[in-house]
Symmetry: C2
Subunit: 327 residues, 2 copies
DNA sequence: CTGAAAGCGCTTACAG
DNA sequence: CTGAAAGCGCTTACAG
């Protein structure tokens, strides 16, 4: 192709791949030919030859969930820095789909996998045979030997709850517990919640369970907390994420209950949405950029064979106090 | 590879690709071998041979913008139905990045491109030389001969504004006009806004310009409308999208202005967020699933060579009245 | 510093 | 219904 116009043969390859030892004039000639013929290297051929594609997959429940959308935007940016392209797999938190992701559906198409599972079990992971490097986003699943990066959910939940205690609240409830064996994150945040209450010498006012972490679940759970409890309504609620909190907020405001005066509210995730709610939502902000950067770095280590033992990396978090707990 | 365990050679290929004429027992034998050897066809090799990858790109400004996240989730679902994988390119609405997307960066890696540009000009598109099939999401750019799918922005904006008129509001403002030559959508919605006012015999109370359609822009613009206008505050505002409206809402509530009593508010996009705001946001809902389905269908037509003339497809929309204009 | 050759793992006609 | 061969477009040693 271009060699016709150029004169050389795989010197083109050298030029395209930025090999140093090409005479300047040859290089110019080749570059001119490339421009003229609008030559584009065939990525599939390169991939086949090199055994890697420059593409990684990011598997998550749903892009329509703000936290995952915000995480995805950062993962794509981090991958872009390394020249990697990101394809997205949506699992809906469905175990069958999560197993599919892990089973190597896209083998040889992707170099690595970043995976944020919801329903996957340790057994599913132990049964994995695909050898594509994988990094887990979020809690470790079972005893599986994979790199993963997560915030310290217990400590973060403890801080959130302690903040409510410091406000002088004593009837503190939680929204977001899950029955499913898979709700690892929910379990850790519940543990932190209880730690904080125990330290303060308080008993939990109520713990509302949810099927998922969506706004609708938060709205329903809060309604249950208001009417269902014989002990009366809480004066503060720790919601295990911001969408739950926004749903809960909607229920409270619709009933004329003042936030934070009557009930203080705190969430988790620091999604954009919560910053513009009225009242603006107090929350625990995981360092999403750090999670994305670290995850991509871990994957890079795996790809280069540098990594040894599976690593557990803890990303930072901080409490952001806003109107929903102020005053 | 598998043929060793199997006995045949590319009969494997036939089995893998579901060719009909393979004897049942041979098929079983091959399938057993595949399972045993954990054989996975190499997608890169297949792509190279077949000249297509089964991967399409979705290029959009940012996944952290709720509308695009909600659109992306549907595009991925629609593509999945056809067995396609979707990779995401984020442009930040930056013209240089948008030109890169259109220039064929991922040539031979993707079979097609779904593109929602913000800053791209007709000239940029006219200069395109890459031959990857492309479908535009949103307004047509310049006179470019590409398929595109969009809602009827003028009609939709007109309905939104007419709704405010029907409420009895007479001091109607808009937030979301853009100076940039690229704000095609903003221009169309402004046109619809003005049509509706003209039909009602009203003059526009004010039109606020914004740099982008983010919450912060809406908040600032609304503050300007409240204090900056010699004619006093409006009694209704049409925001060109929901994030602008949510920003505006925040400004209003922070100042103790009642919505909709003092000022009615309407947005555009029907993002999840607006449904849980208090008051819940009246909005124009574009049929996002239809947009995604139609866009993927158009791309499929291009890929199969079925399509002839570039098509302009108009997706549906409907007004959803909620609390921010009720009463 | 540049050429000629082999091979990555598939699939597609083409024979049998 | 199944085999043998060629070729998709690259890159990587290997010569020169």
């Amino acid at each position: 192709m271009a060699e016709r116009a150029g004169v050389s043969i795989k010197t083109v390859s050298n030029v395209v791949n930025g090999y140093p030892h090409v005479s300047p004039e040859t290089r110019l000639r080749v570059e001119a030919a490339i421009a003229e013929l609008r030559y584009r290297p065939n990525l599939s051929a390169r991939n086949l030859r090199q055994g890697r594609s420059g593409v990684i997959a990011l598997a998550l429940p749903d892009l329509a969930i703000p936290y995952f959308a915000e995480l995805a935007t950062r993962v794509i940016a981090a991958a872009d820095q390394r020249g990697w392209t990101v394809l997205i797999d949506q699992t809906q938190g469905d175990r069958a789909k999560e197993r599919l992701v892990v089973s190597g559906i896209r083998a040889h198409l992707i170099d690595g996998l970043l995976f944020s599972p919801l329903a996957l079990t340790g057994g599913d992971l132990a049964a994995r045979v695909d050898s594509t490097p994988m990094v887990l986003l979020g809690e470790r699943v079972g005893r599986s030997p994979y790199d993963h990066v997560a915030v310290d959910n217990v400590a973060a939940a403890e801080e959130a709850t302690a903040h409510l205690v410091q406000l002088g609240r004593r009837r503190i409830a939680a929204i977001g517990a899950q029955k499913a064996a898979a709700g690892v994150t929910a379990r850790l945040r519940l543990r932190g919640f209880r730690h904080a209450l125990a330290k303060a010498g308080l008993t939990e006012h109520a713990v509302a369970h949810v099927a998922a972490f969506h706004r609708a679940d938060g709205a329903t759970a809060m309604a249950g907390l208001l009417t269902g409890s014989p002990a009366g309504p809480p004066d503060a609620v720790f919601c295990f994420n911001d969408t739950l909190a926004l749903g809960a907020l909607r229920t409270l405001l619709a009933r004329g209950i003042r936030v934070p005066d009557d009930i203080a509210l705190i969430g988790f995730d620091d999604i954009e949405d919560g910053r513009y709610a009225t009242p603006a939502l107090t929350t625990v902000a995981p360092d999403k950029s750090q999670i994305a950067d670290v995850a991509v770095d871990l994957l890079a280590s795996r790809l280069s064979g540098t990594a040894a033992q599976p690593k557990e990396l803890v990303a930072g978090h901080r409490l952001i106090v806003r109107e929903s707990t102020l005053h």
